[in-house]
C-alpha cells in the first residue's frame, strides 16, 4: 500500500496555524468572522446580492421565535424521492447558452456552490454525443467478444451477480476548458466539466476471466447504446488494472445522464472513454481508430501534427471559494477552498499563492485523499483588503506539478483544445469582487 500523502496544517477547519498566518487573531474571534464571511459568501453565490439575512416578516430572529417552530412541518413521506431545499434552486447545472444544438453538447457542475468531494448525482456534469437515451434495463445487453475464448452476452442482472467493487473516482471531460478566448467567468464556466462519485460495479478483469482472453489481445473497444454509438479504444493493460463496468453511482442506480443502466469507469482517463450506456466490449489487437479518437479527442500542435491517444487527465486544481462571480464580504479571515485531482494517482500536495504567484504555501488536504478522486484543500488566508490574485497548484504522487497557462500555451499553442490543466488565477478587487485574472 502506498504511503499516505503528507498532510500539513492538520487542524480544525476554522483554526489556522500560526505557521501559515503569523498575525492571526485568537481562534474564537476568527471563528465568528469566518461564520459571518462564509454565510455571506454562500448567499452571494446562490442568490446574488439580494441575500438579505432579515426574514420576510421583518421580525428579527432572535428574539422572534422562528415560524418553523410554531406548527408541524411537512409529513414523513411527503416526498418519496427527496430533493434540495427550494432555497437552493439556483444550484443547478450550468448549460452554455447559444449553442447551435444540444444533442452533442455538455453542461457543467456548479463547482463554486459545492462542498466536499462527492458531486451530487443530479449536478454531475454532462457530455453526450447523441443525447440521453431512455433504456429499459430489462432490454439492455452487454456483449463481450472479439479476442476471447467464449463471446458472452450479459443482462444487467447477470452483471450484478458478479463480485462487486465500489470506488470513488473523478470524471473529467478532456476539454475542460479549451485554450482559446473567451475565457469563462466562474469556476463552473472554466472547469465545471469535472465531477466525482462513488461507483459500484464489476471489475472488467472479472468479465475477461469469465470469457477468457486470447494471447494476442491488446486493446478493448467500448461502444455505447446511444444515438452516437459512442466508440473508444482502451489499452488492455488499463482494463486489467482498474476499469469497472458500473451500474450504480452514489449508492443508487446510475442516472440516465450517467449511462443508465451500464457504463464504463476508466479511472483517471478522459471522460469520453468512460463509455455510457455500454452495450459492447470487443477485444482487439489494435485500436479501431474511431471518429472519437481521430477527428476528435486528438490534440493539435502548432507544427500541424496532433497527439493521439492522450488518455490521462494530468494533475489539476482550482480554488472554488472564493472564485469568479463571488465576493469576499470583508477584509480579514477568508478560508480559501478548492479541489484537486490527478489521473495519475493521489494528490500529494496543493500550493496556494495569494500574491499573484510570487510566493506559495502548502494548503491543508482534507482526508480522505484517494487515488484518482477529487481531493479537498483549504488554506487560511487573512485578506488585507488590497487587490491581489489568488491561485492554487496541485502536485501529484508522481511529482508532477500543475503548470501555468503560459507554460502550456508555449508548448501546445492555443489550438490544442484538450487537456488544459493550467493553474487558474482569480483576481480579488478592493470591493471583494472575484473575477478571472486571465480576462
Amino acid at each position: 500500500m502506498a504511503r499516505p500523502p503528507k498532510v500539513v496544517n492538520k487542524v480544525p477547519n476554522s483554526v489556522p496555524t500560526t505557521e501559515a498566518i503569523p498575525s492571526l487573531e485568537p481562534p474564537a474571534t476568527t471563528r465568528r468572522q469566518f461564520l459571518r464571511s462564509s454565510g455571506a459568501l454562500l448567499g452571494a453565490a446562490a442568490a446574488g446580492e439580494a441575500l438579505a439575512q432579515a426574514p420576510k416578516s421583518g421580525a428579527e430572529s432572535p428574539p422572534a421565535i422562528p415560524e418553523s417552530m410554531k406548527a408541524p412541518g411537512a409529513p414523513v413521506g411527503g416526498k418519496l424521492y427527496g430533493e434540495p431545499s427550494p432555497y437552493e434552486a439556483k444550484v443547478i447545472r450550468n448549460v452554455p447558452s447559444g449553442l447551435t444544438q444540444y444533442i452533442s453538447a455538455s453542461s457543467r457542475t456548479p463547482l463554486g456552490d459545492l462542498d466536499g468531494i462527492i458531486t451530487p448525482s443530479g449536478l454531475f456534469y454532462e457530455r453526450h454525443h447523441g443525447g440521453v437515451p431512455a433504456i429499459d434495463p430489462a432490454e439492455h445487453r452487454l456483449m463481450l467478444h472479439g479476442l476471447v475464448k467464449t463471446p458472452l452476452i450479459f443482462t444487467v442482472d447477470d452483471l450484478r451477480r458478479f463480485p462487486s467493487v465500489s470506488k470513488i473516482y473523478f470524471l473529467e471531460c478532456s476539454g475542460n476548458p479549451v485554450y482559446k478566448k473567451p475565457y469563462g467567468k466562474t469556476a463552473s464556466d472554466l472547469v465545471g466539466l469535472v465531477s466525482c462519485g462513488e461507483w459500484t460495479g464489476v471489475a472488467l478483469r472479472t468479465l475477461f476471466d469469465e470469457a477468457g482472453l486470447m494471447p494476442n489481445a491488446k486493446w478493448v473497444m467500448a461502444e455505447g447504446a446511444d444515438a452516437a454509438a459512442m466508440t473508444r479504444s482502451i489499452p488492455l493493460d488499463k482494463c486489467l488494472d482498474d476499469v469497472l463496468v458500473v451500474y450504480s453511482q452514489n449508492g443508487e442506480r446510475l442516472r440516465p445522464e450517467q449511462g443508465y443502466p451500464l457504463r464504463l469507469i476508466v479511472p483517471g482517463y478522459e471522460g469520453n472513454m468512460n463509455v455510457k450506456w455500454l452495450r459492447r466490449l470487443k477485444v482487439t489487437d489494435a485500436p479501431v481508430y474511431s471518429r472519437e479518437e481521430t477527428s476528435k479527442y486528438t490534440d493539435l500542435l502548432p507544427d500541424g501534427t496532433a497527439r493521439e491517444f492522450t488518455f490521462c487527465m494530468e494533475a489539476k486544481s482550482i480554488i472554488t471559494s472564493p472564485s469568479g462571480g463571488q465576493r469576499v464580504p470583508s477584509p480579514g479571515f477568508v478560508e480559501i477552498r478548492g479541489i484537486a485531482w490527478s489521473g495519475h494517482g493521489k494528490v500529494k500536495r496543493v500550493d496556494v499563492s495569494v500574491d499573484g504567484g510570487r510566493n506559495w504555501a502548502e494548503a491543508v488536504l482534507q482526508e480522505p485523499v484517494l487515488t484518482r478522486s477529487l481531493t479537498r484543500f483549504r488554506y487560511a488566508w487573512r485578506w488585507d483588503g488590497k487587490p491581489t490574485v489568488i491561485q492554487s497548484r496541485a502536485v501529484d504522487e508522481t511529482g508532477y506539478v500543475q503548470p501555468t497557462f503560459e507554460e502550456l500555451l508555449a508548448k501546445r499553442g492555443d489550438n490544442s483544445f484538450y487537456h488544459n490543466n493550467a493553474v487558474q488565477p482569480w483576481r480579488v478587487a478592493t470591493s471583494g469582487e472575484v473575477s478571472n485574472a486571465n480576462n
Binding site: 447551435t100 444544438q101 444533442i103 452533442s104 454525443h129 447523441g130 456483449m143 463481450l144 467478444h145 467464449t150 463471446p151 458472452l152 452476452i153 450479459f154 447477470d158 451477480r161 458478479f162 476471466d209 469469465e210 473497444m221 461502444e223 444515438a227 452516437a228 454509438a229 466508440t231 459492447r280 470487443k282 482487439t284 479501431v288 481508430y289 474511431s290 471518429r291 481521430t294 477527428s295 486528438t298 493539435l300 502548432p302 507544427d303 500541424g304 501534427t305 496532433a306 497527439r307 493521439e308 491517444f309 492522450t310 488518455f311 490521462c312 494530468e314 500550493d351 504567484g357 510570487r358 510566493n359 506559495w360 504555501a361 506539478v401 503548470p403 507554460e407 502550456l408 508548448k411 489550438n415
Partner: protein, 196 residues
C-alpha cells in the same frame, strides 16, 4: 510485552485466517474465476452488433455506392447541418482546410485531418444522420462516404466506393498523428520569490 489490545488484535487476525482457510476448504469452487453468469453469444447476435470497422477495412460489409448516388443522399440527409458543399453549419465542416493545420487558424475536416477513410464509413453508419442514425442502407453509407471524399478532392466524380476503395485510400493527414508526449511541461514548483 504486548498490551491487551494488541493481543486481542492478534487473536482476531488468527481467527480470520482460520475462518478463511475453512471457507476455502469448504467452498473451493468460489476461488475459481468462472462464475457461469451470462450466455454465450450466437453467430447471428455477434454479426448484428459487430459494426466497428478497422483502418485496414476489416469488417466493412460487401457492397458499394457511387459518388453520384452519394450526392443524392447528402442533399437529402446531410445538407441541413453540413452545408451544400460540406462547409459546415450546425454540424461539422466536412471539406476543405488542407494545408491549414500548421497555421494559427487550422481547419479540421475529413480531408484535412482524418487519418483513415474507413472511419468515415464507420461513423456515418453508426451515428449519422443525427436525427436517424443506423437508418441508411449499406449502399447509401458507401455512396455518401464517397461524396464527402469527392467534396475533398480525394476521389473523382465518377467513382464507385467499396471496401477496397476505403481501405486503400491514403488520406492526406495519415501521418499527421504522434503519440502522447506528456508530461510535456515541467513547472519548477517554485515556492518563494518566484518570477511572475
Amino acid at each position: 510485552m504486548p498490551t491487551i489490545d494488541a493481543r486481542r488484535r492478534a487473536s482476531r487476525v488468527c481467527c480470520a485466517l482460520l475462518a478463511g482457510a475453512a471457507w476455502f476448504v469448504a467452498f473451493p469452487v468460489i476461488a475459481q474465476t468462472h462464475y457461469g453468469f451470462g450466455r454465450p453469444a450466437t453467430a447471428a447476435q455477434l454479426a448484428a452488433w459487430d459494426i466497428d470497422v478497422a483502418p485496414d477495412g476489416k469488417n466493412l460489409p460487401a457492397g458499394s455506392g457511387s459518388v453520384a448516388k452519394g450526392r443524392e443522399v447528402y442533399n437529402t440527409q446531410c445538407i441541413a447541418c453540413h452545408g451544400a458543399k460540406g462547409e459546415g453549419g450546425i454540424g461539422d465542416k466536412l471539406a476543405g482546410g488542407q494545408g491549414t493545420l500548421a497555421t494559427p487558424a487550422p481547419v479540421k475536416t475529413v480531408g484535412s485531418y482524418w487519418p483513415y477513410a474507413t472511419t468515415l464509413f464507420d461513423y456515418i453508419r453508426r451515428a449519422m444522420p443525427l436525427n436517424a442514425p443506423q437508418s441508411l442502407s449499406t449502399e447509401e453509407v458507401y455512396a455518401v462516404s464517397g461524396y464527402v471524399l469527392f467534396l475533398n478532392g480525394l476521389v473523382n466524380e465518377n467513382a464507385v466506393i467499396d471496401a477496397h476503395t476505403l481501405a486503400n485510400l491514403k488520406m492526406p493527414n495519415r501521418n499527421g498523428f504522434i503519440g502522447d508526449q506528456r508530461p510535456d511541461v515541467k513547472d519548477s514548483g517554485c515556492m518563494r520569490d518566484c518570477a511572475k
